[in-house]
């Protein structure tokens, strides 16, 4: 939050208009496909026509009445909830260690903790699949959550590190000078201040697991798959608007999470400053 004035270009009005048009075109390209699914999900026919010729809720009804879809949804929610808890606890502690600690090989450790962000998904997927196959735990919901946690935890580390970087440690010293112990200081001073970063990280962890497909394709048991894996099956066989209905629900969830995360990160930025 430097005092430097923001970027303003006062010249080149025509150029700016052209730039604006270009930006608008790119934005339409980005947003349109996401929202085009919504009307299709209310289609009265089983063809993927746009705009739909008649309206109905049949695809939502189909989604909500089919045991396999519902089971996949519950599995995904349960796995994502477990991932959120695991990744938030492990990631928050690690962020403290990385930001406040000094130890040999620190850079390498940080690179390792964040590496799941860049290692191709298929590599993690088959590695975990071979590993779980040997242990005989392919298909276990907890095992799926454990694999997803590795992929989700970097988001927690990054978000919590961000708030910790701007953290004024004098507040903790003040609490301790006033007689608060380590745990009390953490509970009453540290945690309330870093909470937006922790929650934002948790949210990222949740959505990472909830949307994860590649690892799930390999380590879920046939007939007991996560929601993305169920959608994948459906997309490769019968393409009917049920997926549009599921996708619409996912889009609504994404938009909601986006706004929550935006607020949290804004608050984290305020506190970090």
């Amino acid at each position: 939050m430097s005092a430097a004035p923001p970027l303003v270009m006062s010249s080149g009005r025509a150029g700016r208009a052209l730039l604006g048009l270009l930006a608008l075109a790119v934005v339409v390209f980005l947003v349109f496909p996401v929202f085009v699914i919504i009307p299709i999900s209310f289609s009265g026919s089983s063809f993927l026509t746009f705009p739909p010729e008649s309206l109905s809720l049949q695809w939502y009804e189909k989604f909500l009445s089919r045991a396999d879809w519902l089971e996949a949804t519950w599995l995904s929610l349960w796995v994502a909830a477990l991932v959120t808890v695991l990744a938030t606890v492990l990631g928050t502690a690690a962020a403290f260690g990385v930001v406040r600690g000094r130890f040999p090989g620190q850079k390498l450790v940080v690179a390792f903790l964040l590496s799941p962000l860049i290692v191709p998904g298929i590599i993690v997927a088959i590695a975990v699949y071979f590993f779980y196959a040997r242990l005989g735990i392919v298909g276990s919901p907890v095992a799926i959550a454990v694999a997803h946690t590795a992929l989700a935890v970097p988001f927690v580390v990054v978000n919590v590190s961000a708030v910790l970087h701007g953290f004024d440690t004098r507040l903790e010293q003040a609490a301790q000078n006033l007689g608060a112990g380590t745990w009390t200081t953490f509970r009453l001073v540290t945690f309330p201040l870093i909470r937006p970063g922790v929650f934002a990280g948790g949210l990222f962890a949740f959505i990472t697991s909830f949307d994860e497909l590649i690892v799930a394709l390999f380590i879920t048991a046939p007939g007991h798959v996560t929601l993305p894996a169920r959608m994948w099956e459906s997309m490769r066989n019968e393409i009917d608007p049920t997926i549009a209905a599921v996708s619409t629900l996912e889009i609504v969830l994404s938009v909601a999470l986006f706004f929550v995360a935006g607020r949290l990160q804004a608050r984290a930025a305020e506190r970090g400053a």
Binding site: M1, P5, M9, G12, R16, G20, L22, A23, V26, L30, P33, V34, I37, F50, A94, F96, G97, G101, R102, V109, A111, F112, L113, L117, I118, V119, P120, G121, I122, I123, V124, A125, I126, A127, V128, Y129, F130, F131, T149, V153, V158, A162, V163, G166, D168, R170, Q173, D211, L213, I214, P228, R236, I239, S247, I251, V255, L257, G262, Q265, A273
Partner: protein
Amino acid sequence: MSALAEPMAAAPPRRAGAAWRKPGLLVLPLLAFLAVFYLVPVLMMLSRASGPALDFAPVQAALTSGVAAQVFWITLKVAVITTLATLVLGYPLALFTAIAPPWLSRLLLAAVMIPFWSSILVRSYAWMVLLGRQGMVNEALIGLGLIETPMRLLNTSFAVYVGMIHILLPFMVLPIYATMKGIDGRLVWAAENLGAGALSVLRFVILPLSLPGVFAGVLVVFILCLGFYVTPALLGGPGDLMASMLIAQEVDLYNWDLASAYAAVLLVVTLLIVAAFSRLLSLDRVMGAGR
């Protein structure tokens, strides 16, 4: 949202707080977790690539296979073209977002972030719907009189490019935007006062100062391209086999050693690129701007 891109300025120097004498130890639980459930599985998988006789036969097979050479060539081509396309489309959007008034800038950022937050699967599905034979794109082209019969768009390389560019564009826009937001507006001001036109300002001030964001975006998009699986599998045709799909195929055929060898090659290529350019890649910058 720029919490991570912002260097910490105001806070006093961090001290190892009295709360924990060795705060570094707090990294251990996660380190142990990742070692067991991530590092060990990957290393065990990689060790398969040496083959049962430890003669690295699978790696040799992978490196000499004609199919693999073709697949890695396709993967590289897709990665280069997608990266360039996202840069060409993303840079103007990032620039306009950076210089737009705050309300418009917020709106544009939301337009970039909402697709970013929705799943790759949902977005690939959207393109299946749009590019299908009776899809909107074909209908629109027929309606405009440009074509008479529907074109085959789905299950082509074109569809793969469109889908991948759509999914990866935010990874290009966000770091470039974050870097541009950090440019001191007074520099533009000074240039303008000295008589520079818009193009000169762009060429001599904004472009050079936004390069770190460009490098970060290019690197991230390129690396993510190398590992793409879902989008090419759903939107591409038989000729669009990418590295990840080849690996999955070999696993399905129970050629686990060969699959591991391919995976080893893909991993080594990815890590070499990251290592070579790691100074340019600030994961904080990329991920801090969003997901």
